[in-house]
């Protein structure tokens, strides 16, 4: 009850109190995340899929020291194996940044890591009853709300299609509410993927991917299955964030995935990329104040299914990194005019590449390789690594590589930065909320 009141209080403060939208990310965290790391990140946590035949074969949280000059710079300093392979995927902080929630899309376990000592995370709690309690499966996005964590699921326990919903947990791991995705009654497909909130506009955007059957299936088998290929989301939904009610469904064909609001003060637009149709879409209000989605750029040659996957927006809203999984390349788009993004740079990172995370100042860009256990390439093509590059505005220069196969770790997937509690790296945008939480 206390946390519910606190959550309501914080929401009111953010929505009604006219607080400027808190700049998010390094650079994709929820705007409600405290202690953004605006300086040098110190540790990188990689949620890693166990790989059959490699090491202990278990999913694990891998922590890497990224403090320049440190004796263990660029080295793995901690691993926590959580047991089994459950399709480890994405992570997200609680709003106070004390805990890191990490989900598995197959067995629906949610692992809550205490990262107070970021060099030595501890497994604090495991949530195992998501499917039983909600009927939703595939916990994907973990998005901090005040005193809460919103979890976007991908599927359901009844038929493993993409029909799903959002579950709101308290920071302590209790389910507070559930919210089904908008279905045909609103022109939606009931699918889910990512969450992106703009508190200034009281708007939450969601995107849509596919259900368990497709995301667990081998990618080659999937593209040879024309009917299964039709089971992808083709919409985004606009929600009234405060009431958690969907208010409009936008047509965005071809599996719109990551949602990134521009972080530049005064901007009220977001971008997404569609994995199957290889487009960048802009979501913003039209002249009449209606939210609309617009196809604004093409990524690579859509006929070859380059699969744009993760994207990372610069804090100043001027550039967007777009990774294309199939050709293992990253592409930088100039989005100064979000109506017409232009590709200005490309570089091959490996045989495959999925996630991209840039530092707040955009000078460091991290890449990992794994997309989904059964979507990753096979044999020699199955690169699994973390790479850090320096970005000088013209060229990516590789700083270090951690080979997750050579180190017997597994498939490198989602990344999150952390820093020691008194680090100078941490920004100070959330003091007001932290004082309330304390």
């Amino acid at each position: 009850m206390r946390s519910l009141v606190m959550g309501a209080c914080l929401s009111a403060l953010l929505l009604g109190g006219g607080v400027t939208a808190v700049q998010a990310d390094e650079t994709c965290n929820s705007p409600f995340t405290a202690a953004l790391i605006k300086g040098q990140e110190e540790y990188l946590h990689v949620w890693t899929l166990g790989m059959k035949g490699l090491g202990d074969e278990s999913d694990k949280l891998v922590t890497i020291d990224v403090i320049p000059g440190s004796a263990t710079y660029g080295k793995v300093v901690n691993t926590i194996s959580v047991g089994g392979r459950g399709e480890a995927h994405h992570m997200g902080f609680t709003d106070d940044r004390r805990y890191l929630w990490a989900g598995r899309l197959d067995d629906n376990k949610i692992f809550v890591f205490d990262i107070q000592d970021p060099a030595n995370p501890k497994l604090h709690k495991t949530i195992t009853d998501l499917a039983d309690k909600t009927g939703f499966v595939g916990p994907h996005t973990f998005y901090a709300l005040p005193g809460r964590v919103a979890v976007q699921a991908l599927s359901n326990s009844k038929d493993h299609t993409g029909k799903t919903g959002i579950i709101v947990f308290s920071n302590q791991g209790e389910i507070v509410s559930t919210h089904p995705m908008p279905g045909t009654e609103m022109g939606g497909d009931a699918y889910g993927y990512d969450i992106g909130i703009n508190p200034n506009q009281n708007v939450m955007l969601t995107s849509s991917f596919t259900g368990w059957t497709n995301y667990m299936m081998d990618l080659g088998t999937l593209v040879k299955d024309a009917d299964a290929m039709k089971n992808f989301g083709n919409t985004m939904a606009v929600w009234d964030y405060k009431s958690m009610k969907p208010i409009k469904v936008l047509s965005v064909p071809g599996a719109p995935l990551e949602i990134r609001w521009s972080l530049k003060p005064g901007d009220d637009w977001a971008l997404t990329a569609t994995a199957l149709t290889s487009k960048i879409w802009l979501v913003r209000k039209d002249d009449k104040g209606e939210w609309q989605a617009k196809d604004v750029a093409t990524v690579g040659d859509p006929a070859k299914i380059p699969l744009p996957v993760d994207i990372s927006i610069a804090a100043d809203g001027k550039h967007l990194w777009v990774n294309t999984f199939m050709d293992g390349s990253t592409r930088l788009f100039d989005i100064s005019n979000p109506e017409a993004p232009k590709q200005v740079y490309t570089k091959k990172i490996g045989n495959q590449v999925n996630m991209v995370s840039q530092s707040w100042d955009g000078k460091r860009v991290y890449f990992t390789t794994s997309l989904l256990g059964n979507w990753d390439k096979k044999g020699e093509e199955n690169d699994q690594f973390l790479k850090l590059y320096d970005w000088d505005g013209k060229e990516l220069q590789e700083r270090f590589k951690v080979d997750f196969v050579a180190l017997k770790l597994g498939r490198a997937h989602h990344m999150k930065f952390s820093a020691r509690p008194n680090s100078k790296a941490i920004g100070s945008t959330m003091e007001v909320y932290r004082s309330l939480l304390n």
């Binding site: 493993h160 667990m216 299936m217 080659g220 593209v223 009917d227 083709n234 071809g254 199957l276 096979k378």
Partner: protein, 377 residues
């Protein structure tokens, strides 16, 4: 040791009672309270005696086990996650079933409806006992992936909500290899689907219930198309199967032909095309499948698969043992155009050369085979 003791016990039960362990349900049982007598709907033969009268508690226990995801190694899969109730207890989402950790099974999910009448189970017929069948998916590494029978029994024993239920139905035996399979088989036996529009027309005497097109399709089915030579229609009932195994060319084509082009839908109205070898560059290669030959080692059984029942066929796309044919129209075209005759190696299939109207009528007839489902939750 515990599991071994159980296995010995079950073997003794089987040895003593014959394989019809469920035969504990004698005729007198039907007169006892708390039992259900299964009467077959119009168009289906009588329910086999072994399952004709079943304790209600046993059916309920089997239903609970059938839908319970906790029976898979990672709590993700149940019988019902592939045999989806709303999809006529088949799966329409993918060509082949998707199992443990997303592994692709070799074959399409068959419907469980009317499985009580099947003489063999699975597309290649490698099991013949309904009450033993469940142990194969429970233990298969690419399905529910439990490491052993004892592991499954221990897990059920460790779940609070099963103990009393097993004691009620299997007082002396408790949770055992036999009782788990027997309870699930009892539930599956209740999943009967008949009384289709075809049944009402053909067996029920409702002569006006089919359209002219559907009736013309029936004529193709039993005449020019030759469909009923394998998909049998009996005098009083029809299961639309001869229970035999035939090579219709689908398996041969998959095993022996190396490349083909795939049309890949990317979004409504947007598609691209890729060759199989291009897709294989990033995906898994198909596991080979030689059908019934794998069970009998008889050369004549190469790429032969069991004749599926056609009941509810419109509700269970995609088609063929590997789900490689998307629609009923495509199935009819496959046989009509001579593709089947070209790839089938036994020479029994002929090019049909059906006209477009005949093909449409045949599809219309097939859609009259949707039944009403009993035993649903």
């Amino acid at each position: 040791m515990k599991a071994l003791a159980r296995a010995v016990f079950v073997a003794a039960v089987f040895a003593g009672l014959g394989v019809a362990a469920g035969g504990a349900l004698s005729g007198s049982a039907s007169r006892q309270a708390g039992h259900t007598k299964l009467t077959s709907p119009l168009g289906l033969p009588p329910v086999p005696e072994k399952y004709a009268v079943l304790p209600v508690d046993k059916i309920e226990l089997g239903r609970k086990l059938f839908f319970d995801r906790r029976l898979s190694f990672n709590n993700t899969l149940s019988c019902a996650m592939c045999h989806i109730e709303e999809d006529a207890f088949a799966s329409t989402q993918s060509k082949r079933a998707i199992g443990m950790e997303g592994l692709t099974l070799r074959r399409n999910t068959p419907s469980v409806l009317n499985s009580v009448y099947q003489k063999t189970l699975f597309h290649d017929g490698h099991e013949s006992h309904l009450d033993l069948q469940v142990w194969l998916p429970l233990l298969a590494a690419d399905e529910m992936a439990n490491p052993s029978m004892g592991y499954v029994l221990d897990r059920i024993e460790g779940l609070d909500d099963y103990k009393a239920r097993f004691e009620r139905v299997y007082a002396a035996e408790g949770i055992s290899i036999h009782s788990v399979g027997d309870a699930i088989a009892a539930y599956e036996a209740t999943l009967l689907s008949g009384n289709s529009r075809f049944d009402r027309w053909h067996f029920g005497g409702e002569k006006q219930i089919l359209t002219k097109s559907e009736m013309a399709g029936f004529e193709i089915f039993t005449g020019k198309g030759g469909c009923s030579s394998c998909h049998l229609i009996g005098k009083d009932a029809a299961l639309f199967t001869d229970h035999l195994f035939h090579n219709t060319g689908i398996g041969y084509r998959a095993s022996m032909h190396s490349d083909r082009e795939y049309v890949i839908p990317l979004a409504p109205g947007v598609e691209t095309r890729m060759l199989r070898h291009e897709i294989d560059a990033f995906g898994e290669k198909l596991r080979n499948d030689v059908g019934r030959f794998e069970v009998t080692l008889n050369e004549d059984d190469r790429w032969a698969y069991k004749t599926p029942s056609l009941r509810n066929v419109s509700r269970t796309p995609p088609y063929m043992h590997d789900g490689s044919v998307a629609t009923l129209e495509d199935v009819v075209e496959y046989y009509s155009s001579g593709e089947a005759a070209k790839h089938a190696t036994n020479g029994k299939l002929k090019r049909l050369d059906l006209t477009p109207v005949e093909r449409a009528n045949l599809v219309a007839f097939l859609k009259t085979l949707d039944g009403d489902d009993r035993g649903r939750r």
